[in-house]
């Protein structure tokens, strides 16, 4: 008996895995049709790669040690290694489009039923910071969910530059900013009010902060109010950029689109657009992405980028179970073996699934076996 089975991992039986594979194939075709070529980064990277301001949470990373004592991490996110790979392998500042499909490892908290290992697919567009590229990336996220025949979808856009601009005006300590981020992220207006009251903030800054948790809704309403709260050029630019992305998107997609300026930069590398895709009655976001113009410079090459990821393992659980193609099972004798195997090969080339059994092989329990031990029967088959 197996004991000590680790938490946060699971076996995919053939039905489960078929679902994951089919989902992945549909999505890969879509990415490729937009010119996003598939790439793969190594399963582990140096722990040091994630040592920069704003890197993903290092506590949750699964570490291992190689024979020389160097600490490695199992791929804890897809974007950082990809940005590293692109900076190292494509030094010319060209426009590049890449897609991936990979395993992400991150220690899940116990007792929440989350996985420590999951399949993720995504795209990253490098070298272009136009709102048109932002719109393209979001629209591919929408199309990915539509291609899987999911409905009741809803997409939300935010912008990291808006809050960053507001923080510029407030000269807060890092600890204070972190506290505010928590309240904004959880739309916790009561706690935000209580906290701001005890701090000495300029009136217009406090007013904008207090509106942030509620700055979500239709693009028109949100943009209008967000504009009236702008305190500097950075906030204005963010709203202008967001407006352009929305305008572009309206021509590309046809799903409900809203803005939420209360989205905070939880993956700290986002610099511009942040977006999420939801489906009714699915408890977590299905698509999550944004623009990260400064990440690449961590790896020695400044190059803007925008992308998203979707959790294939989670998505697969929302889809109807895959239907497996029924195989044909045949039993041959010494006399008919050559003929049956030749015919089986032809049938497989024509798309059938054929399992051939020798005379003494045990039959599969759940399938009928076609008896081709007789030469005449085999010839007719």
């Amino acid at each position: 008996m197996v004991k000590n089975f680790p938490d946060g991992v699971r076996d995919l039986t053939s039905e489960d895995y078929q679902q994951v594979e089919e989902t992945a194939t549909t999505i890969r075709h879509l990415f490729q049709s937009y010119g996003y070529r598939s790439v793969q980064t190594p399963s582990f990277e140096a722990y040091d790669l994630y040592h920069f301001p704003g890197a993903p949470d290092r506590n949750a990373m699964l570490k291992c040690i190689d024979t020389s004592g160097r600490v490695l991490v199992l791929r804890p996110d897809a974007t950082v290694p990809l940005a590293r790979m692109v900076a190292m392998n494509y030094p010319q500042n060209e426009s590049l489009r890449f897609s991936y499909q990979t395993t992400i490892f991150r220690q899940a908290e116990a007792g929440l039923g989350d996985l420590s290992e999951w399949n993720q697919a995504g795209i990253e567009a490098f070298g272009d910071e136009s709102p048109e590229v932002d719109a393209e990336v979001v629209s591919i996220g929408v199309e990915a969910l539509l291609a899987l025949e999911l409905d009741n979808l809803h997409f939300d856009l935010g912008h990291a530059g808006y809050l960053a601009g507001l923080f510029e005006e407030l000269s807060l300590t890092e600890a204070q900013e972190k506290e505010l981020l928590g309240y904004i992220e959880s739309k916790n207006l009561p706690e935000l009010q209580r906290t701001i009251r005890t701090w000495d903030l300029p009136d217009n800054g406090a007013r904008a902060l207090l509106r942030l948790p509620q700055l979500y809704g239709t693009p028109e309403d949100v943009i209008e109010e967000a504009k009236s709260l702008c305190l500097n050029a950075q906030m204005n630019d963010a709203i202008q950029n967001l407006t352009q992305v929305v305008e572009n998107l309206k021509d590309l997609i046809d799903v409900p689109l809203q803005l939420d300026l209360g989205f905070t930069n939880r993956m700290h590398y986002y610099t511009g657009l942040i977006f999420k895709g939801y489906m009714q009655n699915a408890g977590s976001a299905l698509v999550s992405g944004g623009r990260y113009n400064d990440l690449s410079s961590q790896f020695g090459l400044s190059r803007p980028a925008c992308g998203f990821g979707l959790n294939l393992s989670y998505l697969s659980t929302l889809l109807p179970k895959a239907v497996a193609q029924t195989p044909v099972v045949v039993r041959y004798s010494n006399e008919t073996r050559k003929l049956v195997c030749k015919k089986a090969k032809e049938k497989r080339q024509n798309g059938s699934i054929v399992i051939t059994l020798s005379e003494s092989a045990t039959s599969p329990t759940d399938q009928e076996v076609l008896d081709l031990r007789n030469l005449e029967e085999a010839q007719k088959w």
Partner: protein
């Protein structure tokens, strides 16, 4: 349908009163009923009764869209949800309590609590190393029996403390019931969830005008 998770008790009864007053009728509901799920006549809202400690996970995972739960539990579990309203009900404080002469600004403080995460974070912030004993009830016993130096617990009137010779040594945070919302549901079931929030916001203002 919007599913609301809440714990049985006074909080739930007040919440149901408010919902009934704003036009949602739950024909099957009675305090004594053993049922755990109730729908209103128009099938707009479904109530689900779970243990209070479990409300956050039901909402975070989307098994329920909305939850009503005490701030103490949110501080302990720190779920990834929207915390949108202070319902002001069930007001109390989470406190450090112990014998009057106990000094709490010292290293190796031993704390008994139903809220190990809250206790640990609070003292960590102040650079105090603690040893936390996770207890499940009658926390006041811990200092009396010599199990811990102090306790971290919610205090309403302070009567239980007083009867056991204990006092509040430090108030940590005010506690009251909060309305939490699943991050997807707020967007994908916006109309019903928003109107529910608005109903509860107005009712809270009516009941606690001074706040």
């Amino acid at each position: 349908m919007v599913k609301i998770a809440l714990a049985k008790g006074r909080l739930a009864e007040t919440a149901i009163d408010i919902l009934q007053a704003s036009g949602y009728v739950f024909p099957d509901y009675s305090k004594k009923s053993r049922k755990l799920v109730f729908e209103d006549e128009s099938k707009t809202i479904g109530l689900t009764f779970v243990k209070s400690m479990d409300v956050p996970i039901y909402v975070e995972k989307g098994a329920a869209d909305v939850g009503i739960v005490g701030k103490d539990i949110l501080m302990e579990i720190e779920p990834d949800v929207y915390e949108m309203l202070d319902l002001k009900m069930g007001a109390c404080r989470i406190c450090v309590a112990g014998f009057p002469e106990t000094k709490i600004r010292r290293q190796q403080l031993v704390i008994g609590s139903k809220y190990p995460n809250v206790a640990k974070k609070y003292f960590q912030k102040q650079g105090i190393k603690t040893e936390i004993l996770h207890l499940n009830g009658s926390v006041e016993l811990a200092p009396i029996m010599g199990l811990s130096d102090v306790i971290v617990d919610i205090v309403e009137s302070g009567k239980t403390l007083k009867e056991n010779g204990l006092v509040v040594l430090e108030e940590m945070h005010p506690i009251s019931a909060r309305l939490i919302v699943n991050k997807v549901s707020l967007k994908t079931k916006g109309t019903i969830v928003e109107s529910l929030i608005e109903t509860l916001r107005k009712e809270t203002l009516n009941r606690y005008e001074d706040c």
